[in-house]
């Protein structure tokens, strides 16, 4: 009602005016009726009615909403003030937009990987069933979520009662090509209940159901909405058509809706294929039958009425029978015992499974903390600018207070200005965040893994940004607003043109703010240097092999339909052709080689000692052809490389690294010694003679200590085919080499699929988390430093300006210029020092949060800390020196005359 009147208050004014006019007319008529002359009657009527304007005002006020009215006024006024100070406005909006944008962008990522639930029905009821294996597991782990074997899954599926429905699922890379260069697609193996448990309905066609998931089934494919759009242009005829997966034609039976991208947060799937069809793709060595292949993860929907504790107890009770039934018979006694000791438990899966989350959650929380500190520094800067402006507006405030303006109303008006700034800053920030978060995802995407995150703005993210806007507004606006209005009008007006001496107190606040800025930026600078040094150390680390000019070529003949017996001959032929490709100067076959992505390990022990006495050590194994060390630039310290003579029938030989020789034989002089490799999974032992000692290398991660590595000829391992990966070296651009190699391979058989990876890129991409931390913390550290320096410069300049006539008098009275300089610089140094002391304490406290992300540095690394302190102190001092020099050069006559 009030609002309605408010919106129509013009109309009501006219209405009342007409009514009052009518009243006057009637009254006048009456007076005339009593015999008064017309003119006099009009005057009398008017007199009797009273002040018409006042009446109208009174009614108008009744119709207005005081709050809205003054808000409108304040906003107009604030806009005018901001327009009059474009420099200030630009600095404020820019720093807020950067601060809020960075925070919002990181929050978007955190929201996507950590906070948000899966877009499926009742995600809170979903739990993953995990194998608890405190002593580790043996077998092969070929994908991102190798939590379970097929045998364990089938046992759990058939025995459990805690879940109303349950499914198993595993990720897989399919090749869409018919041979030649690999065209990758992100596939998932799904059991029959996958879509039903998640409550996903088809967009088109039908989804995989329990009917499709029977041992020995033929493959069918459900494709994702995105894949449907990309590969089929969204045509309805996609359902019923066929796609080629690893050269097998597979019928598309249905399409999932657009909002469903799978439960692997960070990756979306292109195609879903039943678990039971895996043997079609892998042949005899398939993972459905192989009991030591860990390649599935199981997720269930808890039955209504079941608590997590009850489900856990139920699973624990099932564990022994599950693991007994799923036991890999080939395991040796020790491994069987370990397998039987495993247990089962649930873990919440409402937010899906995410390797991305496991890698980046901690860095992201740390980064949002850092970005938050940057925003704090920006707020301190703005508060300082506003405090300075408050002094400039002292007289305006004094006048307004003197003529009866209420303090509350003035504070509100000052806050409106701040709010306007922070709202505009936040809006720009949200726009910026859209690009920043996309850029972050692009940063995380590597040639091996495409990261997909749903980064659409949602209510949570917008609320976060709005919260930031309001809290920053309060942070930087409230204090200056209170300060600005806490003045005695008379004192200000009496002081005339001169600033009041009450300014002392105001200085204290400004100085405290600047010291706080210095302290906080020291923290950020220190952490930035820690992360930059970590990244630098890792990327310049000598990993023990060369990376420049090395190309990794992966072949797949299984997809071309070769029988394993035929394949070895084909590999040799392909290898010879690749080696003689123009531009290739060295080439070798190798599987599970250092930092190649895959790895393989087994127990080793010296052959000549008592097997009982020496406990087995784990060593990595690389299956290589002659020339491997030459290609990779791994030095041979002693002995020889493999030769073609080290063939299948010849005595088994190995080249081991120095760590192997030291740890297994206690000496690097282990040439001619023999060791036993015990394959506990397949239960076979082989003895190798050491013919060479190679330099140490990193094997699975650049962060690790040098591990044990044994290189064996790929021709001498029974049961293993020849290595299907070729490493080659070239001095030509690798992109040009690729097409030559591709040509060489397709000459042998166009159906062989080929994938390339530039080794250097592959190594660098293992450092994406470190690179992310270094880049972002470096950027934030820089930003913080710049903001702090600007703040310091501003406050010192301002203080010098306020003390202009004092300094003028000092100089006039004979103070040396040097004294003035040291007076100003002395004051600034105290600020900087206080900031640095507090900052050092905070930095040491804060660095502990980063310790797990560092490499080769302790979190309280003194050199880094000293560097940060010296850097910040130096720049701050320079920033203070500029206004100090200006003060020292002050012309006393001019300063005093200006007063």
């Amino acid at each position: 009602m009030r609002l309605w009147r408010y919106l129509r208050r013009k109309h009501w004014d006219r209405e009342r005016q007409a009514e009052i006019q009518a009243h006057l007319d009637i009254e006048t008529d009456e007076f005339i009726g009593r015999g008064m002359p017309a003119e006099e009657a009009r005057h009398a009527a008017r007199r009797k009615l009273g002040n018409v304007t006042r009446i109208r005002e009174e009614i108008h006020e009744m119709n207005s909403l005081g709050f809205l009215e003054t808000l409108g006024q304040d906003l107009r006024y604030a806009l005018r003030m901001l327009r009059l100070n474009p420099g200030f406005t630009l600095v404020a909006v820019l720093s807020l937009a950067l601060g809020i944008g960075a925070n919002t962008a990181i929050f978007q990522l955190l929201d996507a990987v950590r906070l948000r639930s899966l877009p499926v029905a009742k995600p809170g009821e979903l739990y993953e069933i995990k194998v608890v294996s405190p002593k580790g597991r043996s077998g092969s782990f070929p994908n991102r979520y190798p939590h379970m074997t097929n045998a364990i899954w089938e046992q759990i599926r058939d025995r459990q009662e805690a879940f109303s429905s349950i499914f198993a699922w595993g990720d897989w890379h399919f090749d869409l090509s018919q041979g030649g260069r690999v065209r990758p697609a992100e596939g998932i193996w799904v059991s029959g209940e996958y879509f039903h448990t998640l409550g996903v309905n088809p967009q088109l066609g039908r989804l995989i159901s329990s009917e499709d998931d029977r041992r020995g089934c033929a493959p069918v494919a459900v494709i994702s909405y995105a894949f449907w759009q990309r590969e089929f242009g969204g045509a309805a005829s996609a359902v019923g058509s066929s796609v080629s997966l690893d050269t097998h034609p597979v019928e598309v039976i249905g399409i999932t809706p657009a909002n469903f991208t799978g439960i692997d947060v960070g990756h979306r799937f292109d195609l879903a294929v039943p678990v039971c069809s895996e043997p079609i793709f892998s042949g005899k060595e398939n993972k459905v039958e192989r009991r030591w292949a860990w390649w599935l993860a199981a997720v269930g929907r808890l039955k209504p009425g079941w608590t997590v504790e009850r489900a856990d107890a139920h699973l624990q009770a099932l564990a022994s029978s599950v693991f007994t039934a799923a036991l890999p018979q080939q395991f040796d006694a020790e491994r069987q015992k370990k397998f039987l000791s495993y247990s089962l438990k649930t873990s919440p899966a409402a937010q899906g499974l995410s390797e991305l989350r496991d890698t980046y959650e901690d860095p992201l929380w740390l980064l949002i903390g850092i970005a938050g500190v940057v925003l704090l520094i920006a707020c301190a800067n703005l508060a300082n600018l506003l405090l300075a402006r408050a002094t400039a507006r002292e007289k305006e405030v004094a006048v307004r207070l003197a003529i009866g303006g209420s303090r509350e109303r003035l504070v509100r008006q000052f806050l409106t200005e701040s709010l306007l700034l922070s709202v505009v800053g936040a809006l720009c920030g949200v726009l910026l965040a859209r690009f920043l978060s996309q850029a972050l995802v692009a940063f995380l995407t590597t040639s091996q893994q495409t990261i997909f995150l749903d980064l659409r703005m949602n209510v949570g993210v917008l609320l976060f940004a709005a919260g930031l806007a309001i809290s920053t507004c309060v942070l930087f606006g409230l204090l200056p607003a209170l300060r600005a209005t806490r003045i005695v009008p008379a004192a200000v007006m009496k002081a005339g043109g001169r600033g009041t001496t009450a300014g002392r107190e105001r200085f204290t606040l400004q100085r405290a703010l600047v010291a706080a800025q210095v302290a906080l930026s020291l923290v950020l600078l220190f952490s930035a240097l820690l992360f930059v040094r970590t990244f630098h150390k890792l990327s310049t680390l000598n990993a023990g092999f060369r990376t420049d000019g090395v190309l990794v070529v992966s072949l797949d003949g299984l997809r071309a339909g070769y029988a394993p017996e035929r394949w070895n001959a084909v590999v040799r032929e392909v290898f010879e052709r690749v080696r003689s490709t123009p531009g290739v100067d060295r080439a070798a076959r190798a599987e599970n080689f250092p930092m190649g992505g895959g790895w393989f390990n087994d127990n080793v022990s010296p052959a000549d000692s008592d097997a009982a006495k020496s406990e087995g050590k784990l060593s990595f194994f690389t299956m290589a052809s002659p020339g491997f060390f030459d290609v990779m630039g791994i030095p041979l310290r002693a002995g020889r490389d493999f030769t073609e003579a080290d063939s299948a029938g010849a005595p088994q030989v190995a080249v081991v690294n120095e760590a192997f020789a030291r740890k297994v034989f206690g000496t690097t002089n282990a040439l001619g010694r023999r060791f036993v490799k015990t394959d506990g999974v397949r239960h076979v032992a082989q003895t190798f003679e050491i013919v060479g000692i190679a330099g140490d290398t990193k094997v699975t991660s650049l962060r690790e200590e040098n591990e044990l590595m044994a290189y064996v000829p790929d021709t001498q391992l029974p049961g293993f085919p020849l290595s299907q990966t070729i490493v080659l070296h070239s001095n030509m651009p690798l992109r040009d080499v690729m097409s030559g190699v591709l040509h060489s391979v397709t000459q042998v058989n166009p159906a062989i699929s080929v994938d390339f990876s530039v080794f250097k890129t592959q190594i660098q991409e293992t450092l994406v988390p470190e690179s992310l931390m270094a880049t972002l913390s470096g950027f934030f550290g820089l930003l913080a430093g710049v903001l702090a320096v600007i703040g310091l410069y501003g406050v010192i300049s301002y203080m010098v300006a306020q003390r202009r006539n004092e300094i003028g008098i000092r100089i006039a009275l004979g103070a040396a210029r040097g004294n003035i300089l040291s007076m100003v610089l002395g004051g600034a140094s105290k600020l900087i020092l206080a900031g640095l002391v507090v900052g050092t304490g905070l930095a040491l406290l804060g660095a502990r949060a980063a310790s797990s992300l560092l490499f080769g540095l302790r979190p309280y690394d003194p050199v880094t800390l000293l560097a940060a302190i010296v850097l910040l102190a130096g720049v701050s001092f320079l920033a203070a020196a500029v206004p100090a020099r200006r003060a020292a050069r002050l012309e006393p006559m001019k300063a005093l005359r200006d007063e």
Binding site: R16, A22, H23, I26, L49, V52, I59
Partner: protein
């Protein structure tokens, strides 16, 4: 008969009383602002001299609270005028208001003339 020398109570009315007087006037039927002012004056035997101007904010307020409603009509001497009538809510309000007022009068009377009790 009122004594001629009793001064009119100009601008000394208790807050809220004007509202009540206006509502009471409208019990007799719809009237426009001018009539209301004169009726109040007349019925109070000119003791209550309403400043005609102050009537309009009061009417506006009463209409805002939906105690009265208004419409344009023609006055006795053929002038366009805005007429007001009492709404049901206004009637109820008047009743409670009158009760409270009379309680107040009695209470004040008792205080001023305690011997009468």
């Amino acid at each position: 008969m009122p004594k001629r020398d009793t001064p009119p109570l100009r601008g000394e009315m208790l807050p809220g009383t004007l509202d009540m007087l206006v509502l009471q006037t409208l019990v007799l039927g719809p009237a426009h602002g001018h009539t209301i002012a004169h009726v109040i004056e007349h019925r109070s035997e000119s003791v209550l001299q309403v400043e005609h101007g102050s009537l309009y904010p009061a009417l506006h307020r009463l209409e805002d609270r939906r105690w009265i409603a208004s419409f344009w009509g023609t006055s006795e001497n053929n002038r366009k005028a805005r007429y007001y009538r009492l709404t049901r809510a206004g009637r109820k309000q008047l009743a409670t208001h009158t009760d409270r007022w009379q309680q107040l009068i009695r209470a004040i009377g008792r205080v001023l003339q305690p011997s009468n009790e």
